[in-house]
Subunit: 237 residues, 2 copies
């Protein structure tokens, strides 16, 4: 009478080589350790990661599908250049999806439900972290907190498919953001907007919330020209 089901080992720790390769290479691309436009080769990556070409190939195919790597048949591969239009496309997709998720969250928001109380507290805590990072001029810490803030909000929508798409869109945006890492100039404004957003959600004002978030997400539009001039070889088109 096996009434008690033992949950499987959940072998989270055991990652295949292909999975490791995928994550390592993706991370290298996002942190610009593999530079946009750089030529890369299966055997080279295989050596670096101490494995054979087979798992590398699998990883690289996935990255190609995410437009992070370009495959040149029989010739090699290269890290995709940052494309201004691709960045704008992904920014738009992210905006639309994140607004959609937000609208859903606000519509379902109920101050009395513990779930939302917890979420509200977490977001407020996160906000404090953001202010602190700003005070200490720790831009990396701010970026992390910012990411968590948006992720928590998305998570509340309960739509995992949407979340995973937004995450992938972020890849392309983050490469640009990486290049502006030292520019702290408008973090204060960003954090203030996070606060206003939270207030709007709490008060159930859908229109205000979506307006704020739209505005917020469009800030990314500005800097790209400056960055392009500073690192022309990273860009295409």
């Amino acid at each position: 009478m096996n009434e008690i089901k033992i949950s499987p080992p959940l072998h989270e720790g055991k990652k295949t080589l292909a999975e490791q390769a995928y994550e390592s290479i993706r991370e290298a691309i996002l942190t610009l350790h593999l530079e946009p436009g750089q030529d890369i080769y299966e055997s080279e990556l295989a050596n670096m990661l101490n494995m054979s070409r087979t798992p590398i190939r699998e990883a690289v195919r996935l990255l190609a599908m995410e437009d992070l790597i370009e495959i040149l048949p029989q010739r090699g591969m290269k890290v995709t250049h940052i494309s201004e239009s691709k960045v704008e496309e992904t920014r738009f997709v992210r905006e639309v999806l994140e607004i959609g998720a937000l609208r859903k969250v606000v519509e379902h928001w109920d101050e009395d439900k513990p779930v939302y109380q917890v979420l509200h507290r977490e977001l407020q805590l996160n906000l404090e972290t953001q202010w602190q990072a700003q005070a200490e001029e720790d831009f990396a810490a701010f970026l992390r907190a910012d990411e968590v803030f948006h992720r928590q909000l998305l998570h509340a929508s309960g739509n995992m498919t949407l979340i995973s798409i937004v995450t992938k869109m972020r890849y392309h945006l983050n490469r640009v953001r990486m290049l502006t890492l030292n520019e702290l100039k408008n973090t204060e404004e960003l954090i203030r907007e996070h606060g206003e957003l939270l207030a709007a959600i709490q008060s159930g004002d859908t229109a205000a919330a979506t307006d704020i978030l739209t505005q917020h997400l469009r800030r990314l539009k500005v800097d790209i020209d400056a960055v392009k001039q500073q690192y022309p070889s990273y860009f295409s088109g």
Copy 2:
């Protein structure tokens, strides 16, 4: 003085085995020739497609990333079950993205520009095809025309990234739709909505256009319960 650049052979015809495998397997899943929940094996697919396991593996990895296949380490793979929540998630993502694209199109719409005149004519032509298909009760033909209608509209937004995501969301929706293939009941309504949508776009009425499309896309919500009862083994959760 090679001023004229000869465009590369554009070896569109030359597809790698891995690409062929990807397309074949995906098509088999979407047409339900590979049934939801069915066990599949690398060697089996390799035999069916007359190639070795290597290109199959690459194809399968991509399909797994699109949630069309589930990989069970060291045990095999299976076609993912149709999940009610996954369908709703993808439906929502599609709705949000398609509305976003539509809004953009309407805002840029300009009756005097040839591009939009052409588009308008094409959409109207497509509409006639839809009516004809409906009259002949050729549901497959209607589905094709419907797909083209929406694709043309999306295409006008110019956002390729968005289009490719919507396409992938459609995969999951189409499997359900496939099961309701014989149900012609509300095509007439759907086509009428297409017409209304086109009129709203032409007259530049963003609010009306988005309302109609929202309504239109939400029709998919209805039938799923009936289908689930008819084909319980295809569903999970």
